[in-house]
Each structure stands twice: as C-alpha cells, then as structure tokens.
Amino acid sequence: MLDLLAQTGLNAVYAASYISLVAVGLVLIFGVMGVINFAHGELFMAGAYVVVAVYADMHMPFFIAVVVGLLFVGCLGLLMERALFRPLRDNPLGGLVASIGFLMILQALATMGFGVRMEFIPPVTQHVVQLGENISIPLARVYVIVAAIVLLSALWYFLKRTRFGWALRASAQDPQAAELQGISIAQTAKIAMFIGAGLAGIAGALTAPLISVNPHMGHSVIVTAFIVIIVGGVGSLEGAIIASIAYAFVHTFVTTFYGGVIADITGLSLMLIVLIVKPTGLFGSADRA
C-alpha cells in the first residue's frame, strides 16, 4: 500500500510538471494580452509534432528537437500576436474567435501533414529509475520534471529580476499604467506571446515520446489548463503552479483509487467549489476578471 501511494505520488509529480508548463504559458498570455487563447492546446500539439518531424523523421537528437519545438511554437505565438491579437487588442471576444480559427487551422495542417493517425516517436531512453521494489520512474519522465523545474525557475528569475520581467509584470497588472511608465505594450506583448506559446510548445515536445501524438491531442490539455488557471486565479503565475500541483495530485490519486471518470468529475467539482468560495480563484485579484 505504501508503495502504491509512493508510486502514485511520483505519477502526480510528473503530471504536475507538464500541466504547470502549459498553464503558466496560458496565464502569461491572458495576463498581458487579455485574451483567452483557445488555441493553447494546439500550440502544445504543434510542439509535439515538431518532435515528430525533427526527432522521429529527420533523426536529429531529441534535445535539438525540443529546442526547435520551443523556438517554432514561440514563433507561432509571435505570429498569433502580430496577425491576430494585435489588430484585435480592443476586442477580447474577437481574440477568442480568432484563436478558435487558428486552432482549427493548426489541427487541419497537422492532419494534412502527418495524417489522422497517431504518430510514432521512438523512445528517447528506456532507462527506468528504480526507487524501491515497486516504486520506479522512467528516466524520460524525470527529464520532463527536471525541465519543468528549470524552465519555471528561469521564468521566475526573468520575471522578478530583469527589466523585461518587470515590464511584463507591470503590463499584466495594469496595461495603461505600464504604458504611462514608458513600457512598450507592443514589446511586452511579443515577449509574453513568445514565452507563453514557447512553454506550451516545449511541454508538448518534452512529453511527445510519452503520450499519443495526434492532431486532436490539444483538447484534453486545454481543458485541464483552464481548470488549473481558474483554480489558481487567472492573473497569478504562482497560483497556476500551485493549482497545477494540487490538480495533478487530486486527479492522479482519484484516478488510481476510484477511476478516471470520477477523477474528471472531482477535478471540475473542485474548481467549482473554489470559485464558489472565492470567485476569483485562490490567488486571483478581482480587477482583471
């Protein structure tokens, strides 16, 4: 029983890692751009397909594929910013519809380029770290966990310690005030979109060898990410990370002990309860709602 608990805990840590990467990107985009990026799950998908192309098809090293995934999806983010969200800055619902349109296009492109079937990605490593008789974690999952910790720490440093980060946080809190202080909103929007999209892309790239890659894989990712950022409070990066961890643990443990559908219902119910008790999420403030 103790083994089962420990193994389930490890499973939860992995889930928390990739969920938090996706959720933090979504929060960052919403904070700075003020739009709900419905296509975020498809950015995750795009990152996974980069690995299919670069690592599985072109046989480049996995590490390179992940970096390409980050850059490529980051650039997709820049494209979205320039072509969709910037012209629609005063039209948040328009941004929502545009991101839905973008989502459809990305899905269709993936289908055309790679087919409707799931993709094959050779395992990066088959090494399993044995922590006990019945407790183990595959090395590939450890990579994801480590990468998440490194990336999120780097992001934290960037946001709290650099001028860019300061500008980003300022414009997330109050765009008008930020503009008055001489912060270029266009500049911060670009940075936020690149980082936000890139995080989704790298999460997709890192997990690609571990999950089923198909054109519709983004759907369940975006649903999870929405739940997480609502529980954490929409404007809050810390909230998103803490909520990711909480959600991953609850969902993983309920899945293991009661079943997957019950886990989904539990996750959604928890989110509703949080919203009823504190309508702005655990770490959210009311003004950006």
């Binding site: 349109g101 055309m112 609502i230």
Partner: protein
C-alpha cells in the same frame, strides 16, 4: 399595410424555401432552423454581458429531458418538448447560484466546468442517461394532418414547417422580451450594473432571469433536435458544438437581434453546403478556421455591420 404584405411575402418564401432545395439541403435546413433558435437564445443571455460556455449543454438538458419523458413516461412529444425547455430553465436557475458569484472570464470558464460536469454525469450514469451511447430510438413527432397538408415528420420538409413554426414563435417571444422594459433592464445590467442596482434593479435576479429564459429556449431547441434525429449522446453537446454557437454569434455580431441569426445562416451554408459542394470535404476545418479569422479581422462588428451600413445608406437616400 405594407408591413403586413412584407411579412406575408416572407412567410410564403419560408414555406416555398425547402421545395427549392435538394434533399440533403432540406436536412441541413432543419438543423439550421434549430440552430437559429439556439444562437438567438444565446444572444438573450449575452444581453446581460455574460458569455456562457454551458449553453449547448443546457440545450442538451432539454433534449435529454424531453427524450426521457417521451420514452419512459409516454408524454406526448410537443408537451415533452415544452417540458424539456422548462426543465432546462430550472437547471439553469440551479446553476445560477454558483455561477453568478463569478463574472467575466471566470463566469465563462465556470459555466464551462458546470456544463462538463453535467456531460460527465450523463456519461457516468448509464441508468437513466444511457452512458456514452446516450439515448436511441427517441419517439419522433407523431404524424398528423391539417387537411391541406399531411405532416410526415420523417420528411425534412414537414419537420422544417413544424420546427420553423415553433422557432418563429420562440423568436417572437425573444423579440418581445428584448423590446420590453425587461429587455431594457438587461441592457442596463450589462452597461452599468452599479447604476442599475441603485435604480432598484435586482442584478442577481435579472442575470438569473436572462440565463433561465435563454436556457429554456435552448432546451426547446435541444428537444426539437432530439425528436428529429432520434438519438442523443453526451458527445452531441460537446465543446465543439458550443464553439460553433459562439462563433456564429460573434461573427454575426451581437448588437442586433438578427446578427447572430445572420452569422449562423452564413457560416452554416459556407461550411455545410458551399465547402462540401466545392469538394473540400476534408479541408473544411482549415478553410472554416481561415474564414473565422478573416471575418473577425475585417468585420470586427460582425456581419450585421454590413447590413446596418446598407440600411443606413438606403435610409439616407
């Protein structure tokens, strides 16, 4: 007088419409008619400024309720449809207690979560909801004759007349509500909720009223759908469908009563008729996505803004 003539001509055109279409286009016309009710009722909800992602699931509540009533209790189909609408409205009232503690983005996602929970409950409880397979063999609307016309509700033309009649009655009610002091109060709640409240408007009550009325009509729409295709399942009311309703409303524009209807009609014809006829069967999602983006970029106020420009110009000249 002239107005009456226009309405008569409009009615005659509607009656003649399905006879100019191919069989599959008649089928699409039936679904389009139902979707017009769904998107119009959605607009009523947006009048108070809140955008919900639960609307399609609540439409499903009406569909499930009506289907189960006819199947398990033998209720006469039109009565069951009305009851489906009422039950959808009641569920909306229940949901309003948690949901209207939230606003804006939180409401959007909160409503999504509430809808997903309902969908998962349908999936999880095979008895009575049929689980993932849903409900099959739903009683069709019983055929009847009105002397000059025999209704055979397998035929899309008959069902179009039936559904069209109900939808027009519903649209008329929605229009009356919007043009009444109640509708004005919805606008007030949207634009300045604090000032409205200071004038004695019970915000919560009006938000709930809009949510419940919109949900009731969505429920009737769901029931109309269920008794036509004869089967419903949790997947029939998923986020994809909701996204379509949302895009119809926004691409059409929600400033006017006819905006969302326009969006629904134009986008449905593009997606279901034009793109299929042109042979883009498997490319449709790509092109549809591009159309969404183009329309939102170049027509930020929706398709209705074209109509407005046109009517203004003709009013001037």
């Amino acid at each position: 007088m002239r107005k009456a003539l226009i309405w008569i001509a409009f009615g005659a055109a509607l009656i003649a419409l399905p006879h100019g279409l191919s069989f599959s286009q008649q089928e699409i016309l039936v679904f389009l008619t139902i979707n017009i009710l769904v998107v119009s009722s959605y607009r009523l909800l947006t009048l108070t400024g809140e955008w919900s992602l639960a609307h399609v699931v609540i439409m499903g509540v009406g569909a499930y309720a009506s289907a189960m009533m006819t199947k398990n209790l033998g209720v006469y189909v039109p009565v069951a449809m009305l009851m489906g609408g009422i039950i959808a409205a009641l569920i909306a009232v229940v949901l309003s207690f948690p949901l209207f503690r939230m606003k804006g983005f939180y409401f959007l996602i909160g409503s999504f979560a509430a809808g997903e929970i309902i969908r998962l409950l349908w999936k999880h409880f095979r008895d009575p909801f049929g689980g993932a397979k849903g409900i099959k063999g739903i009683d069709p609307m019983p055929d009847f004759s009105i002397g000059i016309y025999d209704f055979d509700f397998f035929e899309p033309v008959s069902y179009f007349y039936f559904a069209g009649f109900i939808v027009i009655v519903c649209l008329w009610i929605l229009w009356r509500i919007e043009r009444s002091p109640v509708g004005l109060t919805f606008h007030a709640v949207h634009w300045q909720d604090k000032l409205a409240e200071a004038s004695g408007v019970n915000l919560r009550a009006y938000r709930t009223l809009a949510f419940a009325v919109a949900s009731g009509f969505a429920g009737i729409g769901g029931a109309l759908l269920a008794h036509y295709i004869g089967t419903i399942n949790p997947g029939s009311f998923d986020l994809d469908y909701m996204v379509f309703v949302l895009t119809w409303a926004i691409v059409g524009g929600t400033g006017t009563f006819y905006g969302p209807i326009l969006g629904c009609v134009v986008l449905t014809i593009l997606n279901e008729v034009v793109l299929r006829e042109l042979g883009f069967e498997q490319l449709r999602p790509l092109i549809y996505g591009a159309i969404l983006i183009a329309s939102i970029l170049f027509l930020p106020n929706g398709l209705e803004s074209i109509v407005q420009k046109f009517t203004k110009r003709s009013a001037k000249s």
